[in-house]
Amino acid sequence: MSVIEVKNLQKTFRVKKKESGLKGSLKSIIKPTYRQIEAVKGIDFTVSKGEMIAFIGPNGAGKSTTIKMLTGILYPDSGDISILGLDPKKERKKLAYEIGTVFGQKEQLWTHLTPYDNFKFFGAIYDIPEEVVERKIQELKEVFELEEFLNTPVRNLSLGQRIRCEIVASLIHEPKILFLDEPTIGLDPVVKENIRSLIKRMNKEYKTTIFLTSHDVGDIEKLCKRVIIINHGELVLDDTMENLKYHYLNKKMVEAKMKEKVNLEEEEGITILKDKGYNLKIEVDTTLKSVADALKLLNPDNIVDINISNIPLENIITEIYKKEEEK
C-alpha cells in the first residue's frame, strides 16, 4: 500500500538577476530582470507503508524543495501529491496530524523550556489529551533514553540530546510518516550511531514510514533499503540499496600485498587505484573481467595478503552525481 504518491511534481523559483557592484544594483532597481530556477522538474515516485527510504542528491538538487512540498510547507507549481490520501496543498492541517518532521538545520523546540514542557506543548498543538501526552512522554522517554535530561532546559543540552528531543517531539502524535531532513548533521559518530539505531527501532516498533534526506552515507547505508537520487530537479535513480551496491556499478575493490611486483597497466577491466610496489589497490569492472581472472593475473602464489570489497557507497553515489553533471 502506497503512503506517498508523487506524480509529475514541479516547482520553479523566480530569482532576481543582479549584476555585480553598485551599477548592477541601480540597474536592477530601475529595470529588474528575473530568471527562473527549475528546482523540481516533474518527478514521480511512490513510497509504501513501513518503508525506510533515502532521498538524496547533491546540494541544490531539489531534495529540500521536494520534502517541503510533501509536508505542505511549499506549494507546488504543478503535479499531484498524495500523502496518506491527503493533498498537502489543500489539506495541510489534516496532513500535519498524520506526519512528523525533523529538520536537522531548523530547531522546533523552545530552547528555554525543558524537553518535558516542550513535549506537553506539542501535545497541545496536536490536541492530545493531557493524560495521553503524559503516557506517551513516559513511553518515548524509555525508548529514546531521555530520563537524564528530561527536565533540563533545551538550551543546556548537547546537540545529540537536542536532536533526540526533536525526534521525540515529532513523534508525540504518533505520525504514520516521519520526514527527516539531515537529522544527523553536525553530530559526532557515536551520537550519529545512537540516533540511527533509534530511528530503526521506531520504524520497527511503530511501523513508521521513514523518508530521509541526508548527505551522510552512513545514515543512508545503515537505515534505508531503498534509495532515490535526485539531481538538477530530476530523479536519476530509484532502486534498492542492494541493487545500487552490487549491480549499478559492477565494481569490486581488490587490495593486495604482493611478494613480487605485478604490472596490470594494460589490462582491460582493471583500474589501478594505488601502486606502491608490493602494495596494490585495483578496481575490477566485473562486466569486463571476473574477480577470479583478476586474481589469476595477480598470481595466487604471489599474494601475501588480500582484501576484496565492494566499492564504498560514497564512491558509488559520487560517481552517479558526476555522471549526471557530465550529461
Binding site: 492541517k93 489534516k94 531548523k106
Partner: protein, 264 residues
C-alpha cells in the same frame, strides 16, 4: 468547529505563556524593561504639561483628552506588541523562511507565528495606559471601556502589521515598507487630530487609520458616542479578515529557505 477554535485558543495561550516565561528568565531585565518604558512614555507628557500651562486647548483637545490619547496610544500599542510581537517581525519571518515550523503543525499558521514572541516593555505601555486613565480621572466603567478599546485598537494595529508584513510574500525588502507603515501608526497616535487638516486628516482616517485606532476612542471615552464604538469594532473585524486573506494568499508564494536557524 468550536473545538477547533478552543484548541487553537489553548495553543495560542500556551505559546504566549511560554514566550513570557522566556522573557522572565532574567528578573532584572524583565522589570527594568517595563519600568523604563513607563518612564520613557512619561517623559513625553512633560512637553504637554508645559504646553497646557500656556493655553487650555490644543487641536481641540483638553489636557484630560491628551492624557487619554496617550493612554489609548500606549494601551493599543502595548496590547498589540505584548501579545502579537511577531506580527511586527513578519517580514523577517517570511524572508528568512521561519514559517516552516508553523506550517507543519495542524494549527493556524498566522496565529501560531504571531503569538510565539512577547515584548516585555509593552507591558510597561499597558501599565502606562492605566496610569493615564487614573490621572484623567476615569471611573471604573470607563476604565473597563478603556480596556475594551485598547484590545480593539491593539487587534487593529496587529492586523495592520500583518497586512504590511505579508507584502514580503510579494516584494523583497518589504520589511522597510512595513517598518514605515507601523511607524506612521505610532508617530501620529499621540497628537490631537485637530492639528491635522485636509489630505493628512483624510489619510489618518483611511490609509493610515490612526484616527480609527486612537482618535475615535477618545470621543467614545469622553462623549460616549456609541456609533463610533460600532464603527471601530466593524473596522477591526474587516481589517482582521483582510489580514488573514492577504496572509494566506501570500502563503502560496512562500519560498521557505535553507538558513540554519533555531527557535530562541
Amino acid at each position: 468547529m468550536l473545538t477547533a477554535v478552543k484548541n487553537q485558543g489553548r495553543v495560542s495561550f500556551l505559546s504566549i505563556k511560554y514566550a513570557l516565561m522566556q522573557e522572565m528568565l532574567n528578573r532584572v531585565t524583565f522589570f527594568t524593561n517595563i519600568l523604563f518604558m513607563i518612564l520613557n512614555n512619561a517623559s513625553f507628557i512633560i512637553q504637554w504639561i508645559v504646553l497646557y500651562s500656556i493655553q487650555n486647548n490644543v487641536g481641540g483637545y483638553t489636557f484630560k483628552q491628551i492624557l487619554l490619547l496617550w493612554g489609548i496610544a500606549a494601551g493599543t500599542y502595548g496590547f498589540s506588541h505584548f501579545f502579537f510581537e511577531n506580527a511586527y517581525d513578519l517580514s523577517q519571518i517570511i524572508n528568512e523562511g521561519k514559517l516552516d515550523a508553523y506550517l507543519v503543525q495542524p494549527k493556524n499558521v498566522l496565529l501560531s507565528s504571531i503569538t510565539s514572541k512577547v515584548k516585555t516593555s509593552a507591558l510597561g505601555d499597558i501599565f502606562y495606559g492605566y496610569i493615564m486613565c487614573f490621572f484623567a480621572g476615569l471611573g471604573v466603567v470607563d476604565i473597563l471601556l478603556f480596556t475594551i478599546l485598547s484590545i480593539i485598537g491593539g487587534i487593529t494595529l496587529t492586523a495592520i502589521a500583518v497586512l504590511l508584513g505579508s507584502l514580503s510574500f510579494w516584494f523583497q525588502k518589504a520589511d522597510m515598507i512595513a517598518e514605515s507603515g507601523n511607524g506612521f501608526m505610532t508617530n501620529f497616535a499621540t497628537y490631537p487630530d485637530g492639528i491635522f487638516k485636509g489630505i493628512v486628516k483624510v489619510l489618518l482616517f483611511t490609509l493610515i487609520p490612526v484616527g480609527i485606532v486612537n482618535y475615535l476612542p477618545i470621543s467614545i471615552l469622553t462623549e460616549h458616542k456609541v456609533e463610533f464604538f460600532f464603527l471601530i469594532f466593524l473596522f477591526m473585524i474587516a481589517i482582521v479578515f483582510f489580514a488573514f486573506f492577504l496572509f494566506y494568499r501570500g502563503l502560496k508564494r512562500y519560498s521557505s529557505s535553507n538558513l540554519m536557524s533555531m527557535r530562541i
